[in-house]
Symmetry: C2
Subunit: 336 residues, 2 copies
Amino acid sequence: MAPKIKDVAKKAGVSVTTVSRVLNGEKYVKDDLKERVKSAIDELGYTPSHIARSLVRKKTNLIGVIVPDVTSSFYSTILSNIEQTASLNDYNLLVCNIIEDTDKELKYLNVFKEMRVDGIIIMHEKLNDEIREMIGKLDIPIIFSSVKPPDQQFISVIIDDYEAAYDATRYLIGLGHERIGFIGGDMRDVTSGQNRYIGYCKALADNGIPLVEDCVRFGDYKTQSGYTLIQELLDCEPRPTAVFAVSDDMAVGAMNAVRDRGLAVPDDISIIGFDGSQLTELVRPRVTSMEQPIREMGTVTVNVLIEMIAHPEKAPKQDVILRHELVVRDSCRRNE
Amino acid sequence: MAPKIKDVAKKAGVSVTTVSRVLNGEKYVKDDLKERVKSAIDELGYTPSHIARSLVRKKTNLIGVIVPDVTSSFYSTILSNIEQTASLNDYNLLVCNIIEDTDKELKYLNVFKEMRVDGIIIMHEKLNDEIREMIGKLDIPIIFSSVKPPDQQFISVIIDDYEAAYDATRYLIGLGHERIGFIGGDMRDVTSGQNRYIGYCKALADNGIPLVEDCVRFGDYKTQSGYTLIQELLDCEPRPTAVFAVSDDMAVGAMNAVRDRGLAVPDDISIIGFDGSQLTELVRPRVTSMEQPIREMGTVTVNVLIEMIAHPEKAPKQDVILRHELVVRDSCRRNE
DNA sequence: ATGAAAGCGCTAACAT
DNA sequence: ATGTTAGCGCTTTCAT
């Protein structure tokens, strides 16, 4: 059996309180006692039980994280930064990977509650009623990262997706493109679905370019869906000279489809992505992308959450909006 | 304050023991009492405290996982499967991302100990003395996934890297290649460093092909290192007609470098990767790779670990060796 | 079939 | 400056 505080106290010839005091770095312990306790701890190989501590302190230093898919470059990068920032602040991560599995999410939310996690980070916006209700009466600080659920009560760390999509489209227009296809996300998603689509539409409208419904498709942000959907766009007459894909994964899928059809990016068609995932630099041509500050997003999310945990009464009422940034690489060119 | 078992007992007009009994699905509770307790639980929105439970049961249902880099396609895929299998068995994951940071790993190992996790999964093999010592006296079941540290005392879920590398090299030889470059890993790593290199050497030797030191480089498994190292191989006279990179990431980096130099894969040079990461299908040409059963690896790791947790006395003494498999795609061709 | 009470390992009044 | 003790929320003998 692992040694407990009582064993240390006995060995050092002091009370458990004294041991607890040196454990928690309190003053009011004479140096010689402190030394005795420390060597007792060393000899016994004692490590305090976080469990017991949590029980009395009513604080677990645990953050529950719900990721849609850890294998995605986008989410894993945010997760990586979440982990780093959490670790820096002595928080540990309970990670749940839900692959569109509502039951699993519900289960994990319940686990988070049982575990008495101090805070929760959620990275998807498809909240059904059950989950909404569960979350609503959870009484644990919750923050959304990179997404914004329709509910006003929750706060998010996001970019302005509307504006980012607007800027991405404008970039294409500025390059002389007028037939610009769109490969969108899930229109049930407010940020990554609706807002990006609206931004695209508005940019066209502001520049007197008519929206061609036939050049618009919606997918699920993944490579395969970009691969599939662009094929329909390539069949349009006249063919778009540029395509805006609302995720880098979809952009890469689209680029592969173009290539597999014997066409070239960007010579035959320009493609711009969205997110700023590592993939943009891995493929050839490298993907021009409207980037989110992914790493910063993870960091900010944790910092805001920790603030909410520390001061639940003054929880922020406003979303945190980070800046998006166009990073030009090689997948778009001027339309002559 | 969240309701506790005592509140439920009071509300239902029974003892806490009875509540505990229905919570844990024991028999010996009359139906009407059971009903009363259940509705009290519902009305109060009571959720048992995992903390308190863990304290008395001396079981946390927590598994600590140490990943070198969650943003890597290879590790995140294993992690995803670890999570899935753990969740299926009611275990939760405490995830630690160490980016070659020994201090952080040490810290986390200590956190795992404090948290009294039931088991630990480690996915890297660079154990320095400090970590080795820490792990040695941890008294928590530990299993290594996809890697094998030099120490005989720990068990691993791995493939036979030597044989896999041998087979990969033989595939290239079978394609008619005789000048076969090698982009290896870290020679301090037994599995992914040494064994793959030795397999490569042995395959050459068995086929009467002399090893050309100049066509061998060692990197860190990442894209950038593949990109850099292959440049030196391309300068060799005569130039290798094929290259074996011991990770898909390095293979992709190498392919990019080849392309950026105006050469083509596989027409000018064949490149075979290793791992079977998602990347192989994402880039063009798609990467022929000696694949590890990544998904199975995560599943098996958790299953074995859970077995070790349940029966610490009869811990497996043998590594679990999974089968590797060559998946032919488009990055290698016959050398005429 | 149900309940009283001890204790899991620790912290935090409170007392000295 | 140090020690005593009462919980934290639950499970689990042991009684009844």
